[in-house]
Symmetry: C2
Subunit: 578 residues, 2 copies
Amino acid sequence: MSENGTRRVGPASVKQQKWWGWGAEGIEFSFADKPKFAPFVMDVIGVDVTKPAPRVAALSTYDIPASQLTDGLRAALVEGIGEENVVDDDEYRVIHAFGRGVRDLVRVRRGEFGRLPDVVVYPGSEDDVATIVAAATAADAVVIPYGGGSNIVGALEAVPTETRQVISINMGRMNKVLDIDEASGLARIEAGVLGPDMEIQLNAKGWTLGHFPDSFMWSTLGGWIATRSSGMQSDKYGDIADITRGLRMVMDGQVLVLRPLPSSSSGPSVREMVLGSEGRLGIITEATVNVHRLPPVREIQAYFFPTYDAGLEAMTELAASDAAPSITRIMDAAETAFSMANGKKSSRVSHLMNRAVQEVMTRKGWDLEKIALGFIGYEGTPVHVRYEKGLVGKIISRNGGMSVGKGPGALYDQKKYDIPYIRDFLLDRGIPADVSETATPWRLLKTMHDKTVAAAYKAMEEAGVQGFVMCHLSHSYHSGACQYFTFAINDSTEHNMESYDRVKRAIQQSFMDNGGTVSHHHGVGEEHSPWLDQDISPAGVFIQRKLFEGVDPDQRFNPGKIIHEGLPGISSNSVQPG
Amino acid sequence: MSENGTRRVGPASVKQQKWWGWGAEGIEFSFADKPKFAPFVMDVIGVDVTKPAPRVAALSTYDIPASQLTDGLRAALVEGIGEENVVDDDEYRVIHAFGRGVRDLVRVRRGEFGRLPDVVVYPGSEDDVATIVAAATAADAVVIPYGGGSNIVGALEAVPTETRQVISINMGRMNKVLDIDEASGLARIEAGVLGPDMEIQLNAKGWTLGHFPDSFMWSTLGGWIATRSSGMQSDKYGDIADITRGLRMVMDGQVLVLRPLPSSSSGPSVREMVLGSEGRLGIITEATVNVHRLPPVREIQAYFFPTYDAGLEAMTELAASDAAPSITRIMDAAETAFSMANGKKSSRVSHLMNRAVQEVMTRKGWDLEKIALGFIGYEGTPVHVRYEKGLVGKIISRNGGMSVGKGPGALYDQKKYDIPYIRDFLLDRGIPADVSETATPWRLLKTMHDKTVAAAYKAMEEAGVQGFVMCHLSHSYHSGACQYFTFAINDSTEHNMESYDRVKRAIQQSFMDNGGTVSHHHGVGEEHSPWLDQDISPAGVFIQRKLFEGVDPDQRFNPGKIIHEGLPGISSNSVQPG
């Protein structure tokens, strides 16, 4: 029994998030050893988070729409993949109905379940997946692939008006590293493996994928590919689009097999059509991906800049230089302040801002309210790391930055997956918080930052709510970088999703107005779809639409995501462009 | 008047290749100062190239099918883009009917013109292109984009049975670098610019694209994008697929506009669908591409390895190391021998093999018949080049290689665009020669090389012709590299294309059987289409087909390329899988 009283079912080997929040039961954010956290939240959002939060009700108290699974489809699935792998327990249907975006959590906690899947299935092999798809086709059902469940763009839920049966395919049993080609640095890996389980298998043989998105603990290889994910060390290892060389995907009556190739000229890239397809073209079962030997040295160095703009200048110069660090990350003044407030009492981040460092900054004439903390990562042999640090150090100095050692970087490295737990902690206390990220050429980065922050605050003002926005640069490329915005609002009312929408919409529209993409690595799903024609132009949407219509004329594979094929109601729960 | 007596027409600013061969009139390969060349060819192919070659007949002596251009379409084109930009002169129609593959040259010289375009048009702007496409749609005509004309996979010719009017769109007037975003390292460039004209414009402002395919002199930005080109410095600058960030493409009634973005998660990549589309989705008019400051130092270092296999081992180790050179290129023993034979009397390549070097090699126990010459390129600040050379040098030594200085590399750099002229020289003398390239993971490189060479020689034996095959590795990636095969056969008979097909087919089939792609950077066109389902699987071909059918239901845009939509006759001139 879970703490909410629901019967545990489903294959025991498959890890499962809470139905009401991020991560496994029992793990929660605590500010007990972070004395500055509660005062900071009170200051910027106006909520006293030291008060106890209301408890989420047991799922058994909710009115859960019954499964519409027919006996015929159930029989076909049970015969095909075994009874233990076919689950229509309410808790599992609810868990698989959503990703873990803030809107998802608000809705599920309110019992706004939308169109729940009728059954959750757990294939153990590509053949199982093909069996499921064949059964779905025979029964005219819809299939939605499910990895770790961490999606935050609404890509895991069925169209609200869906009248056909809905099958959620949990890929969690397909979790093995099948083979490592050591000469080529390629690993063949099943799509359903969660980040940590994959790295354990790779590390055991001395290898790493080098792909560490913020969702790492609760996201899968297949999910990364389906959403064009990017990890925090993408500067060195590339986005998942670069990392993924070979692919297998189950389609209706056929299996796509793309062999691992370092590069190719074989027409429009089918590989790059599967990347970012969010389940619309088929079910990804396996990928062959670039893997690397664990580096002898891995170091994250912290730097302070007088301002975020100085940090942006440094990163722009870095991208054009001979240096090639593994991580580039600069926080704006707001995120720097948050980072300080989130430090443990005795932590090295706190020590950073001890009197000595403050005095140095003050002597330099820095405004302590405007300072920006940055992290640069280095990997390789000791000689290489030293060489790279030398190249980077000169550029940082030229742009007015100063090194403050390895301590804060090591701490960042430990805490990097904590943010979703903080998000849930805040939501429990009436503070919806979310993230939105975009990429732009270097020239537009500052404008994008300033206009987006301004747009978010303007939206909060219009909504009449107090709130907070912060941003960091991460994922540098030759021609530009990603900026990652996090925002939180003080609104615990029933209508707080309207306030949230207003802010989210303002941010997305700013991305479009200032030369950015709808998303750098979260995907389109349902949430960002309304802006897609502003990003890739109506002709780009036309091309994607024709691809989906042609490959999946019956709209069996995760319909309504990325592009709405005139499906009614798909956007009823989400934001629209202003 | 040209030397062949045809009237010169068309916009004077647009450079034009010979109708019967590679490059501009007046430039030809000569072995006058290369004493080893003729003996080498006699030895490996059995042809005395010192005998004068028969002269190609004047085009006026050929029977050229008349243009089927209707008065209506002509009037619409003339009104839309001006009379001087609408050309249906026979020579121009012949020039635009083919690329410059060996099969193209054999056919055109024999007067096997296939389905000549009915008119060649020269748009000066994106609006002009839209006007042409609208006129084509109104007249139910077909449009085929034409860049530098260097295509070698049959992508520029109309389907032989095409009954509609055929318009070849020469993009040569759209040849300007429009803008350089210096902060972002991005340049907005018109698609029709030839390599040298583009680099002149970029260099003048201190920038370079860093994209130098073998076809550089006679290929365009739009052509590179349409075929997924790769340049010899791709190790540093990336393939054109990496370099291309923003795009504009004229489609039927709409213009695709993809803004320059360093990376994005906006569904299946439309950018990567246009890349490699070979004219099937629309006419690319402009791209925004990564550009780099001209490096302070650029050096190509030559190395000798005891064998090609030792060179492959070194490159495999290099790819997994911290080193990041700009060029990696290793020639097998055959190509090394050819390279020596192609050296000038007094050149540094010849000096390489002077007695002193030979003595060192012999002392090392090397078999001089098996040695492999390699080039590694370095770019950056002097400090960076020194650092990289140090890293690479250790790896080369560990794998038994030895450095022989900068001389041969500098020479390679000067001669790198000569190969097509040698190809024409040989063809003039009854020796059809061609190239075929593939990419594979590192683990498969040696097998791919050995089996492909063996398959080619077996095919020559079966065809009863003497011939020669050589290969080099180029374009290294994390997980593998490209291998580029060049072959030549002694067959001046009327049926020499049958011998050629046998060899070409054997090579392509070996690519498929040994884990390679149909092409690393030449494209699919008409030539490689028969193998596409073995490369990307039938489901991959299905996906591409649905894309083309959906976006261009009338098959107006370069039909029959990449995938044959059941069009009769499209393959009549080309190879089929064995």
